[in-house]
Symmetry: C2
């Protein structure tokens, strides 16, 4: 396969610059590997707004591919699919793409608010010092509650999160990947969600006795194989 | 297109035999129309176990197609896709099928338990007299609560149902159908859920100012067009 120059990605980093915990950046990282393209990341923190302002975004991921900047993980996935039609498809056709959008919304609007409430202490703890007051102010405004109030809801949020996962677990008890016999972008969306959880506070999703843990390991295994092919 | 004999379906009916309210039977009804096959239904009640025992099932839908009986709405969809490959595809490929299974589980395990709690009074009210004690006993065993206790949770369940719909509404604000630009089986799964609600107690999902109501009308419109073509 023709070698392309690496795609650059601004990637949310913790205080430990090696720890990358954004579920949205993970989506893009998996998508780039799926397309067998090389990736270089630039660690970025929530307050580094200036670094990406010129790309028209306040948030990551932002990628720069051969001089073109694209932001927003969903738009990046669509961009990659259109720009690299000869590489493995990310969506597996128009129905796969339509349904992947639902999975994207399910992650963003059902799972993520529960994870934020469940893991708020752990997320706050790994942030770079300079990000803490920004994170506190923005999340307190979003939820209308202090971080301490959110933390009190953690046990309740953990239970609701487990409940919300039932359809996913049931599906993965009957087929290898969310998208069937091979992973596609919808698998990466949800795998990104679990990468976020495991990065901030390992929660046992790597237990492969559970269909969900088995799937999680399979997606990561597939990703690592693709990385080897992109190298 | 070659004319085939009608497929027979045992279809859950209310006291009013014309009222068909099973979300699972609606899935199959939509799927048969999508394949442009003709359908004849046999009204069936929860307690008519004997009528379908010979097909190895205690529940509907059960279809009989050219002498072959198939039960369980998901298995019927897979059967139709395999038996009629020259008719319009129900899943739109293997990724569409993988993700449709998730939508199936999401309807069954996230939406339906909330709807049962939300609409329990209305569901009970439309049942045939002979089904009432069966329905009461089976649902009370499933939830570990009396129907009256479930009914008290209705306002809470209605709120949780609205919350659960957020990802669907957001998706349908950005594309015409759940599966993209055309409806496929995953659309029918969820449309069956709304047919159930609207059959037992109209809840305003036909408001087309709402992306969800707009989609609901579009799926039904598409279904009616297919019916005309199957006739």
């Amino acid at each position: 396969m023709e070698q392309k120059p690496a795609i650059l990605m601004y990637d949310l980093a913790a205080a430990d610059g090696a720890l990358r915990f954004s579920p949205f950046c993970w989506r893009t990282r998996f998508a780039i590997a799926h397309k067998q393209l090389a990736l270089e990341t630039i660690p970025w923190r929530f307050t580094d707004k200036e670094a990406i302002a010129k790309f028209g975004s306040e948030r990551v991921p932002v990628i720069i591919d051969q001089g073109r900047a694209v932001h927003d993980s969903w738009r990046i996935a669509e961009y990659l699919e259109a720009a690299y039609p000869d590489r493995p498809s990310l969506f597996g056709g128009s129905v796969g793409r339509g349904l992947a959008r639902f999975i994207n919304k399910w992650a963003d609007f059902t799972l993520h608010p529960l994870i934020l409430r469940w893991k708020i202490d752990a997320i706050f703890a790994i942030l770079h010092e300079k990000d803490r007051s920004y994170f506190r102010a923005s999340r307190e405004a979003r939820f209308g509650k202090t971080l301490e109030q959110l933390a009190e809801e953690a046990p309740d949020a953990a239970k609701l999160f487990e409940q919300a996962l039932v359809p996913l677990r049931r599906t993965l008890g009957e087929q290898q990947f969310l998208c069937g016999s091979e992973p596609y972008y919808a698998d990466y969306i949800l795998c990104g969600t679990f990468q976020w959880i495991e990065a901030v506070s390992p929660a046992g999703f790597s237990n492969t006795d559970d269909p969900l843990g088995r799937w999680y390991a399979d997606v990561l295994h597939h990703y690592n194989n693709r990385l080897d092919q992109s190298a």
